[in-house]
């Protein structure tokens, strides 16, 4: 029983990270119908910005909560700027062309960011400084939860609530929802759609960066290609929950995290090797696309003619 609870905690931890990243995919898709393949790399950029901030600001020496806060917020801000820059210089110029053009551009941007980092920093994994004094608390029996896991849960819940508030309670959020209904009508209503799209990218990128810094506290290894698989799984999570749907992204992220952990934890008992953990996410993607193409919480949208 405590093993099961432990696996549940493990799964929810990585699920929370997937959820944070999936939110960015889903928001951008909701507004532009664009799958932003560079989003996983923004998660990586967030982790690296945090890494350099920690060293530059002198927080790398030892654990400090202030340092963690500064590094987390700093990397969210810088990643938001990077996300806005990507949108401004890569996506906006090609927005008027077909959706395929933007999709290919997104793949190009993703490869550009990855290889730029590999060229400048090398592909060798780096150790992220530990800003949290690691400690485990036992729940019951053998099940334990570590400080970094508590941090991941706390920060991601906080950020998700904040996002919900922005989307439903602020003017910007109203504008975002309007743009996602219909970009051209929103423009006619006097909404500065370019600015709203920019803000959407900034929000999504900040969440991904938070995911990057939080993961790095849980697992200190960061490298320029860390965003590929994680990004893809977060994308699957967004599709699973219903792409374009914000609560769906969170649900999808948690489900993918749990599925992956249970494959590792119990797969061997039924003959599924642990190395299938990555395959599971994609198997789920195929099943979802076959049986419920709109995702768990998605609604069918009539294609406009």
């Amino acid at each position: 029983m405590d093993t099961f609870v432990q696996q549940l905690i493990n799964g929810l931890t990585i699920g929370a990270i997937y959820a944070l990243i999936a939110l960015g995919y889903t928001m951008v898709y909701g507004i532009l119908r664009l799958i932003n393949f560079a989003h996983g790399d923004i998660y990586m950029v967030g982790a690296f910005v945090g890494y350099f901030l920690a060293f530059q600001l002198g927080f790398a020496a030892g654990p400090s909560l202030v340092g963690l806060g500064v590094v987390l917020i700093g990397s969210m801000i810088i990643a938001a700027l990077v996300g806005m820059a990507v949108e401004r210089f890569a996506y906006r110029p090609v927005r008027k062309y077909s959706r395929m053009t933007t999709l290919i551009t997104a793949i190009g941007v993703s490869l550009l960011i990855e290889n730029l980092f590999v060229a400048r920093l090398g592909a060798a994994p780096r150790a992220f400084p530990q800003l949290l004094r690691e400690q485990s608390y036992s729940l019951f029996g053998n099940a334990a939860i570590s400080k970094s896991q508590i941090l991941i849960f706390a920060v991601s819940i906080l950020l998700m609530l904040l996002l919900q508030w922005i989307i439903f309670k602020t003017k910007v959020g109203t504008a975002m929802r309007a743009v996602s209904f219909n970009l051209n009508s929103a423009k006619l209503m006097g909404i500065n759609t370019d600015a709203i799209i920019s803000i959407t990218f900034a929000l999504g990128s900040a969440l991904a960066a938070a995911g990057g810094v939080l993961t790095a506290q849980y697992n200190p290894q960061i490298d320029p290609l860390m965003g590929i698989i994680t990004g893809l799984k977060a994308f699957v999570a967004a599709v699973l929950g219903g792409i374009g749907n914000v609560p769906g992204a969170v649900l999808g992220g948690l489900l993918i995290g749990l599925a992956e952990t249970f494959v590792v934890g119990y797969g061997q008992n039924i003959g599924v090797p642990t190395t299938f953990r990555d395959a599971v996410a994609f198997a789920i993607l195929i099943l979802v696309l076959l049986f419920r193409p709109t995702g768990l919480l998605g609604t069918t949208v009539q294609e406009k003619v």
Binding site: T3, I14, V118, A119, A123, A124, A144, P220, Q221, M226
Partner: protein
């Protein structure tokens, strides 16, 4: 106009990123001028600590040889190539070193998977290759031009099994292996075999793949079985994180591992979670023998860090090659091969090296305890019989 400007900017960025391409080396098949030796290793990839350390060791050895007058009046020049830790790249750079740079011998790689990819190229071209530290048995089975100056996995796995069963009195063990690495699978197989023979029981075998980010699922399963020790025969990048996550799960059983742990980065990743773990290795920097202490001191002066075992093995590989060149008196491939094969009782930093009929070095291993960033010497375990146990390579 604006578009052209952007296009130019993109092109400029590309040219800039390509600007650091290296120049090709001189052809060498002649009997004068420097003797060109090829080195290939992971200098920028996931296991770059390995490649860089080995290269440093080999270069230090070459400099010492050149300062002492070279080989029959000729100096040694090392041309090095980066394989980024990728097997397919290893094969490519070795082909380049052989065809374009005409190297007379090769030194490399560390990771068995990469050596296995490159070795057939060297064998086909009849260029002798000495691997400093690939321990998988299959490496030298590629052909008679492939050698190594380290012990092999059947022995390394056995060493840890003996240490676990005899010294730590462990009855049960769990294994966590890197599924796609021939090195890790080899060690797993031989550890399990020896440990079972000594009366122990392997209660769980979990696997991960290089680049995985989360190991808690596997570790939780292992924890539920409560083994006495956990054998993690992987590379430092993953092992550091595994140790940290094991500590988060409050796992108390000591972790055991092999020479793949040996890199300063292990400590950056694992920190104090590594305290109390044990690893088998090729040598100990604490060994008081004058040869080792001189090597450690020289290396520290030159690179201002303590040499890991890979640096020592790179150094030994270069020295064995130089010794063979001296004895054969030629750079001719087949004669040089015979000379390397005849290496006997060569006093290296990592022990006395004798190349056996399977082209492996027969050497003892040391067990080290990890404590606060240091490797504390525990014991030396010698091979049972003359010639390490020969065993079939694991299926890949």
């Amino acid at each position: 106009m604006k578009r052209i400007a952007i296009a130019l900017l993109v092109i400029a960025a590309f040219v800039f990123s390509l600007a650091c391409e290296r120049k090709g080396g001189n052809g060498n098949g002649s009997t004068t001028g420097p003797i060109v030796v090829g080195y290939y290793g992971d200098l920028t990839g996931r296991t770059s600590n390995f490649g860089v350390s080995t290269k440093r060791g080999a270069e230090m050895a070459a400099d010492e040889i050149n300062k002492a007058g070279g080989i029959n009046g000729r100096t040694i020049q090392i041309l090095s190539e980066d394989d980024e830790g990728r097997p397919e790249k290893a094969a490519t750079v070795v082909t380049k070193l052989i065809d374009q740079d005409k190297v007379i011998a090769l030194i490399g790689e560390v990771a068995s998977g990469n050596t296995l990819a490159a070795a057939p190229k060297a064998q086909a071209a009849k260029v002798p290759m000495i691997s400093p530290s690939s321990t998988n048995p299959a490496v030298t089975q590629v052909g008679d031009y492939i050698f190594r100056v380290c012990f092999i996995d059947p022995f390394q796995g056995e060493v840890m099994a003996k240490f676990a069963a005899n010294t730590l009195k462990a009855k049960t063990a769990a294994i966590m292996l890197d599924f796609n690495s021939p090195y890790s699978r080899g060690l797993t197989e031989f550890f399990e075999k020896s440990f079972t023979k000594l009366g122990g029981k392997v209660v769980s075998k979990q696997s991960y793949t290089q680049g995985d980010r989360d190991y808690k699922g596997q570790l939780t399963s292992i924890r539920s079985l409560n083994p006495d020790v956990i054998y993690v025969p992987g590379y430092y990048g993953e092992v550091g994180v595994i140790a940290k996550q094991a500590k988060q799960l409050d796992i108390k059983a000591p972790m055991l591992g092999g020479d793949g742990w040996d890199a300063p980065q292990l400590w950056e990743l694992g920190g104090d979670a590594l305290n109390g773990a044990y690893m088998s290795n090729h040598y100990s920097v604490e060994d008081p023998s004058p040869a080792i202490q001189k090597f450690v001191a020289d290396y520290k002066t030159r690179y201002s860090i303590i040499p890991d075992a890979l640096a020592a093995l790179g150094y030994d590989a270069m020295k064995v090659l130089a010794d063979s060149l001296k004895r054969s008196g030629t750079t001719n491939g087949s004669k040089l091969r015979d000379a390397i094969a005849a290496t006997k009782d060569f006093a290296g930093v990592t022990g006395v090296i004798t190349i056996n009929a399977e082209r492996n070095a027969v050497k003892p291993a040391v067990v080290l305890k990890l404590q606060d960033g240091k490797y504390v010497y525990q014991e030396t375990i010698k091979p049972d019989t003359e010639g390490a146990p020969t065993a079939q390579a694991p299926a890949q």
